[in-house]
């Protein structure tokens, strides 16, 4: 009984260790993925910066349409 309990506990401890070991890795993966997305978005913004119309305030104010369907 006692051995079993101990065994059970040891098992639980091992599980806990595994969780503790894998958790940082998983969060590293997520972080890496987020960093990659962020780099990707940054390079996209750099490209958009180059073509965005100058003087945004005047430009959007000047875009006046008549209603349609």
């Amino acid at each position: 009984m006692a051995a079993d309990e101990r065994g059970g506990q040891q098992h639980a401890n091992r599980d806990k260790q595994e969780v503790e070991e894998t958790a940082p890795e998983a969060s590293n993966d997520l972080q890496e993925r987020q960093e990659k997305i962020s780099e990707d978005v940054d390079s996209m913004l750099d490209e958009i910066d180059e073509v965005l119309e100058a003087n945004s305030e005047d430009f959007v104010r000047g875009f006046v349409q008549k209603g349609g369907q």
């Binding site: 978005v41 996209m44 073509v51 119309e53 430009f59 104010r61 006046v64 349409q65 008549k66």
Partner: protein, 503 residues
């Protein structure tokens, strides 16, 4: 039935001369259409044939008296504005104060994407040509739906339906679908309210401009379900469902799912397959609320009392559609229907778990990702004019300036077709509808075509006193299979008319 049916799109493009907000919109729209027409090198330009047009007929069964109709509803009076029929079967013309491209009739959502995208190419080319005329200021064109100052202009879808389907069934089953489909088909917008007065991002360009549930109008008091009943086909057999609630999309997957899922839902309505009533409380207000919440958490209340998100409401339709297709076809389903179903389910599943993973598929998510990137990098708030500019310029049709166009060229978007296929569709009609006959006639007999429309081609041939009108009332006839040999062996329009009248 499946995603296959006769369908098409119409898009009014935003138009402006940078630095000259007072430019006459009708005039510059005409310049755009005329520039493209001139580039086609046709000696004679076919007129639009208005004989079968009846924009005041209402699907509910009565005609609106002409003298009580708003002037903007009278689209059948030829105002002398620029109007051309293209060799791909499309119509390029000035509608109200915008250049409009109406795609040729196609049979499935994949082709709908191809000929809709061909329209973007045609507009970009028209703008480039117009700028070549000495003394003309550059004219910019935008595939969007609002100026963020109170004006909206449409991008409509058309679906041919069986006349026997009661209109009330369409209204009941389609309204909840239209209230919720924006989570897939929205083009994204900076600004809340018709004039964009409140600051923020919303899913749809068009949602705030819808004010009633059902109606005939398209320019004021816009209805979720439009009742215009002008089939451009045999009215005994068909109705054309004129859908005015969609956003103008640039992303191919957005257009594809917009057309494909709607066609599939219509098939379920026609075959009375919809088993549960998904009617929503206060559909107009709910439409606005769903659009205003890009976190997708807004709850929709059904008349049954049930509450669910717009994504979950779409999942209800998707699930029914899967059962419907399974029931009708089993494993014998065609590739396009199968693909639409799989993508629809995949998109909805990811909208529930992690919407930003759809930034390479859906317009509103792509736009939202760019805008959030700017907000973070440059610490901008939603009232920033730069964010409004990003929203506008996303839809610029020019390859070098349009944000969608640039990102797509860099391979940033998932695609369902190719540039080669779209480029081919700029000049050539679909092969499996009457657009084939129209397009081929415009190409081969341009000088003898006096007028044309969706349901006719009118020839002016030597030796005949009157004009010869060839009706094309059945959209599934006049296909390559039906008329290719006839057109190939008719050297002139005279030969063709003789073969048609004597044969």
């Amino acid at each position: 039935m499946s995603v296959w049916r006769i369908m098409g799109t119409e898009t009014e493009y935003g138009i402006s001369v940078p630095g000259n907000p007072g430019a006459n919109a009708m005039l510059i729209s005409s310049q755009i259409v005329n520039s493209y027409a001139a580039a086609m090198h046709r000696a004679r330009r076919a007129r639009w044939d208005f004989e079968e047009e009846n924009p005041l007929r209402d699907a509910r069964g009565f005609d609106l008296a002409r003298d009580i109709a708003d002037a903007s509803q009278l689209t059948d009076e030829d105002a002398g504005l620029a109007n051309v029929i293209l060799t791909n079967g499309a119509r390029l013309y000035v509608d109200h104060a915008h250049p409009e491209y109406s795609s040729p009739e196609v049979t499935n959502p994949r082709d709908a994407v191809i000929w809709d995208k061909a329209g973007e190419w045609i507009m970009a080319e028209a703008s480039r040509r117009a700028a070549e005329i000495p003394g003309t200021a550059p004219i910019n064109l935008y595939k969007n739906n609002t100026d963020n100052k109170g004006a909206s202009y449409g991008s409509h879808e058309n679906y041919l339906m069986q006349r026997t389907t009661p209109f009330a069934d369409i209204v009941r089953n389609l309204t909840p679908f239209f209230v919720s489909r924006q989570v897939v088909t929205g083009a994204g917008r900076v600004g809340i309210g018709q004039d964009g007065r409140a600051h923020g991002f919303q899913i749809s360009q068009r949602a705030d401009f819808f004010e009633v549930e059902v109606g005939l109008e398209t320019t004021l008091k816009r209805p979720i379900i439009n009742t215009r009943d002008e089939p451009h086909a045999d009215p005994e057999r068909y109705r054309r469902l004129h859908v005015i609630i969609g956003d103008a999309n640039l992303a191919e997957i957005s257009i594809y799912l917009k057309m494909g899922t709607t066609s599939l839902v219509l098939a379920m309505i026609e075959e009375r397959f919809m088993s549960t009533d998904l009617s929503v409380e206060a559909p107009v207000r709910t439409l606005h609320q769903v659009s205003h919440d890009p976190t997708l958490r807004q709850l929709v209340t059904l008349r049954s009392g049930r509450k669910l998100t717009a994504v979950q409401l779409q999942m209800e339709y998707c699930e029914q559609a899967r059962k419907f297709v399974e029931d009708r076809y089993g494993s014998d389903v065609d590739d396009v229907t199968k693909d639409v179903l799989e993508r629809w389910e995949s998109v909805l599943t990811r909208l529930e778990s992690d919407p930003m993973t759809l930034s390479k598929e859906l317009d509103w998510v792509a736009k939202y990702e760019i805008l959030q990137g700017y907000r973070k990098r440059d610490s901008l708030d939603w009232d920033s004019s730069r964010l409004e500019l990003v929203d506008l310029q996303y839809s610029d049709v020019r390859p070098a300036k349009g944000l969608y166009q640039r990102l797509a060229a860099r391979g940033r978007f998932e695609r369902i077709t190719t540039d080669e296929r779209i480029r081919q569709a700029v000049d050539h009609p679909p092969e499996d509808t009457r657009a084939y006959f129209r397009g081929r006639c415009l190409d081969k007999y341009a000088d003898s075509v006096a007028a044309a429309s969706w349901d006719s081609v009118i020839f002016d041939v030597p030796g005949r006193e009157s004009l010869q009108r060839v009706p094309t009332l059945e959209p599934t006839r006049g296909t390559k299979q039906h008329v290719q040999a006839l057109i190939d062996r008719s050297r002139t329009a005279e030969d063709l008319v003789r073969a048609l009248t004597e044969g």
